[in-house]
Symmetry: C2
Subunit: 302 residues, 2 copies
Amino acid sequence: MHALPLILLTAAAVTGTASQAAQAAKARTMQQVLETTTAADWRQPDPASTLYLDLASGRVIIELAPGYAPLHASNIKTLVRGHYFDGLAILRVQDNFVTQWGDPDAGDAAKARSLAAASKTLAPEFERAIDARLAFTRLPDGDVYAPEVGFSDGFPVARDPKAGKTWLAHCYGMVGAGRDNGVETGNGSELYVVIGQAPRHLDRNIALVGRVVQGMELLSALPRGSDAMGFYDKPEQRLPIKSVRLEADVPAAERTPIELLRTDTPAFTALIESRRNRSDEWYKLPAGKISLCNVPLPVRSK
Amino acid sequence: MHALPLILLTAAAVTGTASQAAQAAKARTMQQVLETTTAADWRQPDPASTLYLDLASGRVIIELAPGYAPLHASNIKTLVRGHYFDGLAILRVQDNFVTQWGDPDAGDAAKARSLAAASKTLAPEFERAIDARLAFTRLPDGDVYAPEVGFSDGFPVARDPKAGKTWLAHCYGMVGAGRDNGVETGNGSELYVVIGQAPRHLDRNIALVGRVVQGMELLSALPRGSDAMGFYDKPEQRLPIKSVRLEADVPAAERTPIELLRTDTPAFTALIESRRNRSDEWYKLPAGKISLCNVPLPVRSK
């Protein structure tokens, strides 16, 4: 249909050098990798840790990461079950950075919505101890910010083995809990999602709590706010939130069943390889490398 | 005005360790760096290499990079001076990837707009020889994809000193010339801009031709297309282009005068340092590192 599509998903590779050609010949395309997956390569997100953020434009699905931010995940569930977010709004969209939502009146004690049974402060879950029981599929090409990077239970993570610490990484689509200057001031009542180049300098400075697994375009394509830091300057620019619910609390008929590719399998390792060395005909010089936030995390309807 | 802004631009650093605190104490904030710049730290883009892409929503300003893609820059100027883009449209917006514009009928020889005096094919300007006359401000923290990265004449670039090659890097806001499978099929009549995580695997596979220096949000916040690769499936979803003009051809009264921070000065090196070690009070653990596509390239109205 079109003369100059930027990417064509077609056949074998024409590469820059003989060694690269040999490398690429071994690599399958991501599509080929996905076509050979079996049911065991996929998992359903836990309905008790999956949020439905419903907007007039559609549904955003967020998988929480209780393995990395258990207190935040628990507090967010308490907020959600108390209908805290229903009728609140998207308040901030800063280009190449974040979209953020919560209570527009949070700064005004007289008007702010009550957190009810949820905590106002939480211990700062910015990193956690490395535990041998945590799955870790390490990427082979290094990272600018951390000694090691890879994937753990479907999330992009970084590690510092010397310090014995690991943490979720600020990649596109990751969701975090906004905080004020105090490290305990984040409680999950104001959330942001990364919509631009990975702001990895935020890693270990703020609690990431999960990841958007479907509906990202409903948060990334919003008009940018013109106030400082991308806050909307007029209340009518804010996008209302219809509701945020736990999947577990939603009747079966209203659920959106999805499956996520596991990140601790040979299929996922093959997927990484397919993206390190693109073998589509369009590519002339496969990179032979991949950066953490460039690895796609496939999702399919169930 | 707000309880939990994600970023507060305030005073001194409270850091994680003594060595990090010492490092951060030396670092100024980006705002402090910008406040101490002088006129000599700024430059005006060359009007003969600056494009105004005018949409109903406003003006996008693109600085071409003739130092890296001279044939493409020249062909794009020929197209622009022949009013090639006027009345064409934005055809494709793929989430976390690119926004692309050109002729919707490019694939239909009977209906496609003529390129007139412009070339239909161009030699592939995917990289160029390193030349000692090219300015290069190298970043200290490495890169996943290339041996060296930094900035040259206001553009993010990568280098392979052993191969003697350098190339523009696919960071947020970079503009490239779409091509088909043949390496000479890109001619600048269909252009894309990066709107998500840097797709660095495209480096050296396609000609980058410049960078959006103002108005990025007019291209990044558009509705995503629902066809394959983000093409709009209905013609009415395409966003019309009013005109693309060279700044040099625009009457003075209609110009948008801007200045860009030079990237070969001590001020720019200080800016990089201010972003490697954030000294705002909000940050508890300055990264001490920065990745190529996370360095901001300041622009101001003149």
